[in-house]
């Protein structure tokens, strides 16, 4: 019921808000109703207020990783290219950020390092993508090549301990990784710049008292929201429909005159840029990066987030990343991994389409009042906080 009525609203509403909503909604995303956007606004408010009650420093990690989850969702969920290589671009982005910022440790240089990280993530994805897609590699072979690429990076970076593996001032550091990455400071040195990490702002709130908030948390949150909304607009655009067509049937899409290889390459490159951005923020947040980001277990994490959340849903990728990572880091003791493994097993066996599409189907299938639709965002609130 939701889709039918709101499509009408979005179609006829000529106001600015209506047109914006029209761009963000469509069959390729869940959440096309007023109720969804109300819940979305609530969730954003909750996330903005979260550092007042919880630890924004820790939560920012989940927001950064959610970008990595989104990068796989768009590549796999929307274009059908199952990639284990998102962590390659993630790591390349992180290492590039580290190398450039160590060599140019002022605001301009660090801003340039961020751009360099994103650009190198995109370029490495484009190179690997060109090699695979224009070489006629398909399906599971793409998956295996990306997996092997990850292992190559892991093996290679782990042996860069010697002094010959130094780029300018920056030593790659082998298995121990690259410590002492400069603090993230964006802007132009001498003109305007702002340091985002280890620079808590003290706020005084009437009811709560003095609280410290972490500006990096808000940077990560803003980038995540912008990416999520941007990707929603992309997958609901004409180009997004072509991406989905490629996922559903490559040969038929080619018959209709679309350049399947180019679509896959462009999506893969976009995914690489997003993963690179995520890696830059990861390295900036931890002021450190090591070859563990190329390890097999880390490479499987994005696939797990996206599978559990629902691979055909951007929202699923974000929520599952935050939920699983929060759970993974907050449970302690020796049973933690056993519980996580059991959860993954049960989720994937019982809900093969993922959690978010399942919830959304339940909602669409029953006649619910608006107030109840708001309530259905409850699981999300629970996982978030």
């Amino acid at each position: 019921m939701a889709t039918g009525s709101t499509d009408g609203v979005a179609g006829t509403d000529r106001s600015l808000l209506g047109r914006v909503r029209g761009r963000l909604e469509g069959p390729n995303t869940v959440g096309n109703s007023r109720g969804f956007w109300a819940g979305f606004a609530l969730a954003v408010v909750a996330l903005v207020a979260y550092p007042l009650v919880g630890s924004g420093e820790q939560f920012s990690l989940f927001l950064v990783l959610a970008l990595l989850g989104l990068s796989l969702s768009v590549v796999w969920g929307y274009s059908g290219v199952l990639s284990f290589g998102q962590v390659v671009f993630f790591g390349v982005g992180g290492y590039a950020f580290g190398v450039v910022s160590i060599n140019f440790p002022d605001a301009t240089g660090i801003t340039g390092a961020v751009l360099a990280g994103v650009a190198l993530g995109a370029v490495s994805a484009a190179l690997l993508g060109y090699f695979m897609f224009y070489g006629g590699v398909r399906d599971v072979y793409v998956t295996i090549i990306t997996l092997v690429a990850t292992m190559v990076m892991n093996t290679f970076m782990a042996q860069t301990a010697g002094s010959e593996w130094t780029i300018g001032e920056a030593a790659l550091g082998g298995f121990n990784g690259m410590p002492a990455i400069p603090l993230l400071e964006l802007g132009v040195s001498g003109v305007v710049s702002y340091q985002f990490v280890f620079n808590s702002i003290e706020l005084f709130l009437p009811a709560v008292g003095a609280v410290e908030v972490d500006p990096f948390y808000y940077l990560a949150l803003a980038l995540l929201l912008a990416t999520y909304l941007g990707l929603r607009a992309l997958v609901n655009s004409d180009y997004g429909r072509v991406m989905v067509a490629v996922r559903e049937d490559q040969d038929r899409t080619r018959m209709f005159g679309y350049d399947v290889k180019r679509v896959k390459l462009l999506t893969f490159t976009l995914g690489g840029a997003l993963a690179g951005l995520s890696g830059v923020l990861y390295a900036a947040r931890n002021v450190y990066i090591d070859p563990q980001v190329f390890a097999l277990w880390f490479a499987t994490l994005p696939v797990i987030w996206v599978s559990v959340g629902g691979r055909k849903s951007l929202l699923g990728a974000v929520l599952a990343t935050i939920g699983i990572e929060y759970f993974r880091l907050s449970i302690e003791g020796e049973m933690a991994l056993v519980v996580l493994g059991a959860l993954l097993l049960v989720f994937i066996v019982a809900l093969p389409g993922g959690v978010v599409p399942w919830v959304s189907d339940r909602l669409a299938g029953s006649e619910l009042e608006m107030s109840e639709i708001d309530d259905t965002d409850a699981p999300r609130e629970v996982t978030d906080s």
């Binding site: 796999w76 199952l82 090699f131 695979m132 070489g135 006629g136 590699v137 398909r138 599971v140 072979y141 998956t143 295996i144 090549i145 997996l147 092997v148 690429a149 292992m151 190559v152 093996t155 290679f156 782990a158 042996q159 097999l296 499987t300 696939v303 797990i304 599978s307 559990v308 691979r311 020796e334 049973m335 933690a336 991994l337 056993v338 996580l340 493994g341 059991a342 959860l343 993954l344 097993l345 994937i348 066996v349 019982a350 093969p352």
Partner: protein, 313 residues
């Protein structure tokens, strides 16, 4: 001469490693279309079962190895019934709510991957909780062969021989016996096979059991030469997938060929650069190039060349 021998031994070692790592996976992934990320942990089960029966129960090594294989095969059958085919949950579901609860994971690559990753987390951590961070290792049998100033473990030579024998047996079972024909019929077209009277459910179960048993055998054979840690399985996983995929559609033959090619590359580069790291990188890069230029794997390429030649005549 001595260097040549070194190279030959290194080649046999890499070959045995790749082939044994891939043997069980060739069947579970290559034939059944299940990406089993817990493959390394199946090897772990075999290795631990062998070691524990040799050290705690005092069984002689061959018997302990047989126990390792058997335990892993049974374990595989249980995993297949409970998780992969969903037989047990569906049976419970039929009894309680009157419908199937889950769908089988066959040919659902990504889902089988997440499920088996969950399984592998449980198994590694379970092994750590039960056995601690390491257990005592069995001594390597057979001593060494000495040549010039070098010496080489005889047991590792035996491993290479065993891996060749294993390939021959598996090839024979899957191409020359009734059972093998039923398996291949089931994998090619399940419905037709069932219509022709093949018990496909039982075939899936047995095939998965055999694949697991082979993983267990790998674990049993490597038990005397690896350090017994809960994470020992992970070193096999990537090489196993690479070998199976590079091998191509004719799974067993392909694994032998890719084991040969990848083993040769690994041994040569390790020997030239004196670094196992670069040997591994070369192996992985060769795999990437092979997948790019021979998208159907080695056996697919051989098949295509043969067809072209026949058409030419």
């Amino acid at each position: 001469m001595v260097n040549g021998l070194n190279l030959a031994f290194q080649f046999l070692d890499s070959f045995a490693f790749v082939v044994l790592a891939a043997a069980g996976l060739a069947i579970i992934f290559g034939i059944m279309g299940v990406i089993n990320l817990a493959h390394g942990e199946f090897i772990l089960v075999g290795a631990y079962a062998t070691t524990v029966s040799a050290t705690s129960l005092g069984l002689p090594l061959p018997l302990a190895m047989a126990a390792g294989v058997l335990v892993t095969a049974l374990f595989g059958v249980v995993v297949e019934r409970v998780i992969i085919s969903g037989f047990v949950p569906n049976w419970i579901g039929q009894r309680t709510v009157g419908r199937d609860l889950v769908e089988p994971l066959y040919d659902r690559l990504a889902d089988s991957m997440v499920a088996t990753f969950g399984l592998s987390l449980i198994m590694v951590q379970g092994a750590r909780i039960r056995f601690g961070n390491s257990i005592d290792q069995i001594a390597t049998p057979f001593g060494n062969v000495a040549y010039g100033e070098f010496s080489y473990s005889t047991y590792r030579l035996v491993l290479a021989g065993v891996s060749v024998a294993l390939l021959v047996v598996v090839y024979y079972v899957f191409t020359r016996t009734d059972f093998g024909t039923r398996v291949r019929a089931t994998m090619a077209d399940e419905q037709t096979a069932r219509a022709l009277g093949v018990d496909t459910d039982r075939t899936y179960m047995l095939t998965f059991g055999i694949g697991s048993g082979l993983a267990g055998l790998t674990g049993a054979l490597f038990a005397p030469v690896l350090s017994m840690q809960p994470t020992l399985g992970s070193q096999f996983l990537v090489e196993a997938f690479v070998a199976v995929v590079v091998g191509g559609p004719s799974v067993v033959l392909g694994t032998a060929l890719s084991g040969g090619v990848l083993g040769a590359v690994n041994a040569t580069v390790t020997n030239l650069t004196d670094s196992t790291t670069f040997g591994r990188i070369a192996l992985l890069l060769t795999a990437i190039l092979a997948l790019r230029f021979l998208p159907d794997g080695i056996t697919g390429f051989v098949e295509r060349v043969r067809t072209r030649r026949e058409e030419g005549e």
